[in-house]
Amino acid sequence: MIKLTNIQKVYNPRKANEFEALKGVSCEIEDGELVAIIGKSGAGKSTLLHILACIDSYQSGEYVIDDITVKKLSEKKYARIRNEKVGMVMQDFALVEDFTALENVMIPLSFSKKKIKNKKQKALDALKQVGIEELAKKPCNKLSGGQKQRVAIARAIVNEPSMILADEPTGALDSKTGEEIMELFKKLNREEGRTVIIVTHDPKIAEQCDRIIEISDGEIVKNAG
């Protein structure tokens, strides 16, 4: 379970260009939920997602994931949360372009502290799960946008995290491919019970989720199922 209490995030604090991106955001997300975070550009939804993914810090408030308070952790433990509890999918895929699909999917396994017997097989299984096993040996710079996003999803799920965070996952894809990717997220949520949180400004995507959290000017203005 995820619990955010009064999270405040300020960019460039005490500088002329200081900007308060999150103004005391509080919410809870249960395990196995499919949640959409919506809002206009600059509303703070991506900032919130990055805080949830432990790739960005916050000034005040409390973030608890599976009973672990994130702020008091060492860098190693932060990394471990990113590695084991969170799978991240980005709009621009965030792949190492000259690596093959398989190599990309194996990255979280390389940094895992868990003893994993057959990393390669596990990565292949993840690729199979997203339907691109045959592309395993293909460099990512030779893949289409939809294929790249599937590689990113395979990488996000390979370490079996409890939570998948997606930042505009269909933003760079055509509508048909976007639908396919959305189906994949729904499948991961319903069939495997993973918590999926999707940041989007596409209402069609948001409508498919169990709950929609709307952010405006750094505050949650709507939190409804």
């Binding site: 960005d56 990394a79 471990r80 991240m88 000259d98 690596f99 979280p108 940094f111 370490n159």
Partner: protein, 398 residues
């Protein structure tokens, strides 16, 4: 293993950029080693004589062009006896022995000098006696001088130096204490144009009894002597000695050690003094190039590093991956410069161009390599310092 894998991937990815860095580093390391090799080569000649040249003393002989007579030598010793201070007189001896393999010229040098000889050897060591290369005499062979058996423990390289104190020059430096010997060309300075007789260099103590028995009967003393003062002289004593020698300038030819030493030091440091400014300039340009390449590369690698971070890497992991990549650059440069130096030494070109590679080459190269590596890490650190993972993720990658 993961660091090596991702570091190597980064190295390969940025190879086109790294090529410039590698070429610059290899060129500097090569230039640095050649300069040090040249210094070593000159210092190698100076070292055995330094112990004398830094004291009061003279390079001296009786006046006269031909071999000094016994009376002339007696006169020389008489003059030396009138000098203030305690003096040791050092001379070299020579002889020729005939063996099955042919004639062999012996150069018998003072033990203190022999023990400090570090002229490069093709094989073996200086433990007993060394011979010139490309002769019928080899490692382990023995020859007899009177009743003394002399065993060859080392073989000199081609184009080598042989100690000799029979050369005098008004601009004398330590190089005049040697002859250059090329067995397959000619003995430079001596016997020019003739096929040279191979030479064995050995310490005086090995054949002292033979010298005592056979001096002037098969074993001959050098015309010149090194007169070394074993006591500290006052300025007054020095002046007194200079006056005595000047008064006897019709009887003797001499050169004070102080003059030889001064010229020798100039000779030893000359190569470094010439090359160092060039190396410093090239290094400054190269380090600027390295800084640019390194910062560009770190910036270009940022996004991929951020991807690893998102997947569970720590910032420390990212720094290590960058360090591995930089280490590979420095290592490849090092390997290239070592390979070039190896090619030079394999062909014997190092001796021909007067290079002696020693431990100081390793030391200076190591210091240089570590310095460059540290610079690259500082650049990486500074570039990374002001970046957030979020900004790295949106930065242009590949």
């Amino acid at each position: 293993m993961k660091y090596l894998k991702y570091g190597f991937a980064q190295f390969c990815r940025s190879f086109s950029l790294y090529v410039i860095m590698i070429a610059e580093l290899a060129a500097i390391m090569l230039a640095l080693n050649i300069a040090i090799g040249s210094y070593n080569s000159r210092n190698m000649l100076y070292k055995p004589f330094e112990q004398y040249l830094t004291r009061d003393g003279w390079f001296i002989r009786s006046a006269g062009i031909d071999k000094p007579t016994e009376a002339e030598n007696d006169k020389l010793y008489e003059i030396i006896d009138t000098l203030e201070g305690e003096y040791e007189i050092i001379s070299f001896y020579s002889s020729t022995v005939s063996a099955e393999a042919g004639d062999l010229r012996l150069t018998i040098v003072n033990d203190d000098i022999y023990n400090l000889l570090c002229i490069p050897l093709e094989e073996g060591d200086y433990s007993e006696a060394v011979v010139t290369l490309n002769t019928d005499f080899g490692l382990g062979d023995t020859v007899r001088l009177g009743s003394t058996e002399l065993k060859i423990s080392g073989v000199l390289t081609e184009n080598t130096y042989v100690p000799d104190i029979n050369n005098y020059n008004i601009d004398m430096d330590v190089t005049k204490f040697y002859n250059v010997f090329q067995s397959n060309v000619q003995l430079v300075q001596l016997n020019e144009g003739e096929k040279p007789t191979p030479i064995m260099i050995l310490p005086q103590s090995a054949v002292q009894s033979e010298i005592d028995k056979n001096l002037n009967h098969g074993i001959y003393q050098s015309f010149y002597r090194l007169v070394v003062c074993r006591t500290e002289l006052t300025e007054q004593q020095r002046e007194h000695n200079a006056d005595i020698l000047a008064e006897n300038s019709m009887e003797i030819v001499y050169m004070p050690f102080s003059k030889i030493n001064k010229r020798s030091e100039i000779y030893v440091n000359e190569s470094l003094q010439k090359v160092i400014p060039i190396i410093v300039c090239v290094s400054v340009i190269a380090i600027f190039g390295i800084l640019c390449c390194c910062s560009i590369n770190v910036s270009r690698s940022m996004r991929n590093n951020a991807v690893l971070y998102v997947c569970g890497a720590t910032q420390k992991d990212m720094r290590i991956i960058n360090a591995v990549s930089d280490f590979l650059v420095v290592s490849v440069s090092l390997v290239i410069s070592i390979a070039v130096l190896k090619i030079i030494t394999l062909n014997g070109a190092d001796n021909s161009i007067g290079l002696v590679l020693g431990n100081n080459n390793i030391l200076v190269t190591t210091v240089f390599v570590i310095s460059v590596f540290i610079i690259t890490q500082i650049v990486s650190y500074l570039v990374f310092k002001k970046k957030t993972i979020r900004s790295m993720l949106v930065s242009g990658g590949f």
